[in-house]
């Protein structure tokens, strides 16, 4: 199931890469799609090759591959997400998710409302912890993603635009919603 989640996330990212890069062109540097699809293509290759003792080992591998292939801001952030999630997975999917999201916030020194991936991740993990079903969790992530539109960015490259960053979806929030969508269709 965990492996299916990752493979589905990879599929979505590769399919949506042009759109993610498009979003990053508006308020960033036009590479979010190529960054993530490079990383998740490497992840899929690692899954195809490797065999893992358990799902935690698999998630750890995912995190390490992302850290060492993505670069930019999203590499360390998604990498940290999976590395932390791996550590907490024995406690169940919701606690893995929580650990991952907290890891992103710690690594990025960021919080919600700053127009980042956290704006999609935090509502999702809160819904999950509240026992909502995956459909509702996904809806929370997508609502969080869409709610980034009016925000003025305070973290990441979009922050350099100041007021001009308002009016656009944050690319990282969009990719984070894909992560949750992949979870919803494989872990649900």
């Amino acid at each position: 199931m965990i492996e299916a989640w990752i493979r589905e996330f990879a599929r979505l990212v590769v399919a949506e890469a042009p759109r993610l890069t498009e979003l990053d062109s508006a308020i960033g540097d036009a590479d979010h799609g190529s960054n993530l699809s490079r990383g998740l293509t490497a992840v899929v290759a690692a899954l195809d090759e490797g065999s893992f003792d358990d799902d935690a080992a698999l998630l750890k591998k995912v995190g390490m591959v992302l850290v060492s292939t993505v670069g930019g801001a999203s590499g360390p952030l998604y990498g940290t997400f999976f590395l932390r999630a791996a550590g907490a997975l024995p406690g169940g999917v919701p606690s893995a998710f929580r650990a991952g999201v907290d890891g992103v916030a710690a690594r990025g020194k960021s919080t919600t409302g700053e127009k980042t991936m956290l704006d999609a991740l935090v509502p999702a993990v809160e819904a999950l912890e509240a026992g909502k079903d995956w459909g509702e969790v996904l809806a929370a992530a997508e609502a969080g993603r869409d709610a980034t539109v009016p925000l003025v960015a305070r973290k990441g490259r979009a922050s350099y635009l100041g007021e001009r960053s308002a009016g656009h979806v944050d690319p990282g929030a969009a990719s984070a919603a894909l992560l949750v969508a992949a979870a919803a269709s494989t872990l649900g």
Binding site: T21, S25, D31, R38, G71, G72, G75, Y160, G162
Partner: protein, 328 residues
Amino acid sequence: MKKLINAPADVVVEALAGLAAAHPKLGVDLEHRVVYRADGPVPGKVGLVSGGGSGHEPLHGGFVGFGMLDAAAAGEVFTSPVPDQILAATQRADGGAGVLHIVKNYTGDVMNFEMAAELAEGTEIATVVTNDDVAVEDSLYTAGRRGVGVTVLLEKIAGAAAEERRGLAEVAAIAQRVNDRGRSMGLALTSGTVPAAGKPTFDLPEDRIELGVGIHGEPGRRRIPLPSAKEAATLLVEPVLAELQPSEGVLAFVNGLGATPLLELYLLYGEVAALLDKHGVPVVRSLVGPYITSLDMAGASVTLLALDEELLRLWDAPVDTPGLRWGA
């Protein structure tokens, strides 16, 4: 997209291979995309490592060599390198006296260098983060200012300090001083095109420019009508001077963003020099050319560095890299 490349995915590795082929004093680790001094690491010398996304050439690989960097890690275009790369560069630079990481202040760069430093066991690491771009509002609650033109000057000056065999703390302090005494501002006439994206990052009408751009093809702070060179000098110099109190004279650096030819850069330099003269700011050194670029973006930035006696001496010291060379 019109570029002299093969496949977008191979741009970085192939350009590094060409750089190393053209400069026998450099070595290149193509697996890690690290350029390093072929005669390094230099025993007993503090090693200087920088790196960042590609697309800013000659920064950083073109500044590897005697008197400047020991190694540089090249990320994908506009994407900071990953920790493995930075670690490989750190090993290439480690002559036993510690390594200085020179990091431009972008979330990705900062995080990847941080992770690399955590992993670099057995090597003493100091880090300096450049954040000289006055176009970006500084605040405790944001990612802060970008590192731009000052990075070039810092790599040169800290490199000279390291060649004098100063210790890691001293080299780091000098580097920090360069950052603290330097400020920059840039503008773009056109967008650049990221090879993997295949089309310009933004569209800009014939009569508009982006004021306050960095070096990643990102839109700037605001869009204004195309200024004359004289107006452009004012737009770039005034916000820089508003934050600097140069007492002993400045190094004035007019940088091209990639597609703007020297004819225009020198013309702009003339306006910048005239404006500084009007403000009573003595210019004691200058640098004009494309040194920290943004792919094929047309445009320019101005960096002023408030020199002091030591910084001036270190700036003048010999350097031998593909991008900056004198006295050697």
